[in-house]
């Protein structure tokens, strides 16, 4: 029996159309828009101004606090302006526009493809390099990695868990990365283990990626401190709490961080970025992005410079399909619908999913038939139908005591509801409001 998490979960159609497409380098864009807030936490502070010349890998915005991350130029050229433009959220955000000229890299970066395995076992030095390189969680949450590696006072990490689950339908960037950069990821994992001073790491991979499981197992064969754990295919197994439960059987208590049970979770993409940051001095300036969809001519996986407009990806995948109804930054369960192809790829962009028009529209909501399916599928053991009702009626104390803040916004409830009720929309509303109430109480 394969391991998995216990409570709830769904299994949407996987549609991994680009699973066997090797990662290709996307051609350099003509210009980039690099937002200064690509991570959770304080935005970075821009260090450049209009007219400045920048190189690939040059620091262009400095972390704005401890929970923040440096931003580097992903291209070489001239800064056109520092201005507001919409990112994937749809809201205008501060960012740096750069016109691309050539491809000139900072001399400090090792650009070769050779595998560098040796490193100094110095936790502090590793964390510093990760911090300087602006590495954040590449699974989508974009939490600054150096922060995760420094557990709060009194907490001690016991193990590192690497997330190779990729439970979102359609997306394949992590899958390809594991197949093509497995050795680099392994070095990245060792670096992370060293930084955390733990001697055990698990790599959780869903069983629909048998080739990746076999490949990584092969690479770790000699090393018993790293264990590849195949998992039963079930959404949302990539959720931190679900993954920890699946791999270790431990449950992170309500409101607590994974470190409370001794675990630190990082994505495979992050492990790769850590490898590049420490071994190659390379900041996080590019990432693998899946471009996919049922009508997309060439579903692909591209290595893309941060700041590249989504338009370039779409063009490289054969253009925008005629029947396009919705463009999603990310996968269909948790991704964000975007309004324009001008939106840039950022550190957290794992894929672009293009939905045909008939699938893009939501059905009209009907009365709740009280089937309880939303309750059965909720991985956090919540009652979505009830949370929707109390959010709608603004009974915030009931929302709070029924743990609305535990919701991980996985969307399993809305996905499942046979009456097409937009449960998560209302629950988000409730979360927002209850979050405010809790914060004002603390003041």
């Amino acid at each position: 029996m394969l391991k998995t998490f216990k409570l709830g979960g769904v299994h949407p159609a996987e549609n991994k159309l680009s699973a066997d497409k090797a990662i290709e380098k996307l051609a350099l864009p003509k210009s980039v828009f690099i937002p200064i807030a690509q991570h959770i936490g304080a935005p970075a502070q821009a260090l450049v101004k209009k007219g400045d010349q920048v190189k690939v890998g040059q620091l262009i915005a400095q972390a704005g606090g401890f929970v923040s991350a440096n931003i580097h130029s992903s291209v070489s050229g001239t800064v056109k302006k520092v201005d507001m433009a919409p990112d994937a959220s749809g809201y205008p955000k501060q960012g740096i526009f750069i016109d691309v000229e050539g491809d000139e890299w900072m001399e400090s970066i090792h650009t070769g493809d050779d595998l560098v395995t040796d490193f100094q076992a110095d936790s502090k030095a590793i964390i510093d390099k990760i911090n300087v390189a602006g590495v954040v969680g590449l699974g989508g949450a974009t939490f600054p990695t150096h922060v995760k590696l420094m557990p709060p006072q009194g907490m001690k990490a016991e193990m590192l868990i690497i997330n190779g689950v990729e439970c979102e339908p359609y997306l394949t960037s992590d899958h390809r990365l594991m197949l093509e950069k497995g050795s680099e990821i392994m070095v990245g994992i060792r670096l992370l283990m060293c930084a955390l001073q733990v001697n055990k790491a698990y790599v959780g991979i869903e069983n629909n990626k048998k080739d990746a499981i076999a490949h990584l197992r092969n690479l770790v064969s000699a090393d018993s401190s790293i264990e590849v754990v195949p998992l039963k295919v079930k959404y949302p197994q990539g959720g931190e709490k679900q993954l920890i439960k699946a791999v270790t059987g431990r449950e992170v208590p309500s409101g607590a961080l994974p470190i409370a049970v001794g675990a630190v979770v990082s994505n495979v993409g992050t492990a790769f970025a850590v490898y590049e940051a420490v071994q190659k001095n390379k900041p996080l300036i590019e990432r693998v992005v899946t471009i996919t969809g049922k009508s997309v001519k060439k579903p692909s996986n591209f290595l893309v410079r941060v700041g590249t407009p989504v338009q370039d990806l779409v063009d490289a995948a054969g253009g925008l399909p005629e029947d396009t109804g919705k463009i999603i930054s990310g996968g269909p369960m948790m991704g964000k619908a975007i309004a324009s192809l001008e939106v840039p790829v950022t550190k957290g962009t794992s894929g672009i999913t293009i939905m045909p028009a008939p699938e893009a529209k939501r059905e009209v909501m009907k009365s709740c038939i009280r089937c309880g399916r939303c309750v059965t599928v909720c991985p956090m053991g919540l009652e979505p139908y009830y949370l929707m009702t109390v959010s709608d009626k603004q009974i915030w104390d009931k929302a709070e005591t029924n743990r609305v803040m535990d919701c991980i916004e996985c969307g399993s409830c809305s996905y499942t509801c046979p009456a097409d009720r937009p449960l998560l929309d209302y629950i988000r509303l409730g979360k927002g409001k209850v979050g405010q109430i809790i914060r004002s109480r603390k003041k």
Partner: protein, 327 residues
């Protein structure tokens, strides 16, 4: 960009399941039992079923359109389902006007007076049935002779009726065994009774189909039947002269129909599996109590309605198992 893009919050995909599909699948699951009752009772079964279904749908349409002034939703299949279940709960010989009255009460009182599908606290078909049983006790308990009844040609009483009368008049259960249908007859439905309660086997077939299509989960039917089996089993072991063996009770008097198709009505049963366990155990216990000690030979309809009444309470106190901590 010229294209008009949809912007909506995640998730952007949805299961292919829908309320309509659920309802139509339950209807489909009931089909084999319907065919069997037509075989047993002939055209009368067709008449009663058609009348029940058509009048439930018609009442729903008329009330929604002209009284509630909303867009009628009869295509969702729930009114048709109430119709079939109502038909399954009456004798095939029931006069047409009575079944139409039952349909009016089921839809008008049982369902729409609470606001329609999803808002009714009690199973509408059972509301209709119990109303008819109380208002027209004679017509509701006159069982037609099946065209194919070989064993039971002399009497048209239901097995539970025979048992109840016998035990009441002081006979031991062992003396009654001869006048009761055999286990096999009970299983495939060679006995008298209401249209839908007679073939346990075909009802189970429909159960299998619904499990396969994930329309319902096994919990409620298994817990209900399990409780009946265990509780009746205890009574039987204590005093076999007064109480019949438990399998008999599983195969007679709509236990299957109730457990599989009516106790599982989503609207009126609890949300969580824990809650469903309490609810189902309650139905089982009350059914056995009524059947053995009550005035009626049959009790599952009452049992379900009573536990329907507890459902809101169960839902507010029995919470699902939360992730990361005790409740």
């Amino acid at each position: 960009m010229s294209k008009l893009l949809t912007i909506s919050p995640s998730p952007h995909v949805h299961t292919s399941d829908s309320v309509n599909k659920i309802m139509y699948r339950v209807l489909l699951a009931l089909l084999p039992a319907l065919v069997w009752s037509v075989f047993m009772f002939g055209l009368d079964a067709v008449r009663v079923t058609l009348l029940a279904v058509v009048s439930c749908m018609a009442f729903e349409y008329l009330i929604q359109r002209f009284i509630m002034k909303e867009v009628p939703k009869i295509t969702d299949g729930s009114a048709a389902l109430t119709g079939i279940l109502l038909a399954f709960n009456v004798p095939a010989s029931i006069p047409s006007w009575i079944i139409i009255t039952g349909a009016l009460v089921a839809i008008g009182v049982g369902k729409l007076s609470f606001g329609g599908l999803g808002n009714n606290p009690f199973n509408p078909a059972l509301v209709g049935r119990v109303f008819l049983l109380i208002s027209f006790p004679v017509q509701m308990t006159s069982w037609p002779v099946s065209q194919h009844a070989a064993v039971d040609a002399l009497t048209t009483a239901t097995p539970l009726g025979i048992l109840k009368e016998g035990v009441k008049s002081g006979q031991p259960v062992s003396a009654l065994m001869d006048s009761l249908p055999s286990g096999m007859d009970l299983l495939y439905g060679n006995m008298s009774g209401s249209m839908g309660e007679i073939s346990a086997l075909l009802l189970l077939l429909g159960f299998g189909y619904m499990l396969w299509k994930k329309v319902i989960t096994f919990h409620i039917p298994v817990f209900v039947l399990g409780t009946i089996f265990v509780f009746q089993g205890i009574l039987w072991m204590v005093n076999p002269e007064n109480f019949i063996e438990p399998v008999f009770h599983l195969l007679t008097g709509g236990a299957m129909l109730g457990a599989i198709y009516m106790a599982t009505d989503m609207v009126t049963s609890p949300m969580t599996h824990r809650g469903q366990f309490i609810y189902a155990a309650g139905i089982g216990v009350i059914t056995v109590l009524i059947r053995n000690f009550g005035a009626y030979p049959e009790g599952i309809s009452f049992a379900i309605l009573i536990m329907n009444g507890f459902t809101p309470l169960i839902n507010s106190y029995v919470k699902p198992k939360r992730f990361g901590g005790t409740n």
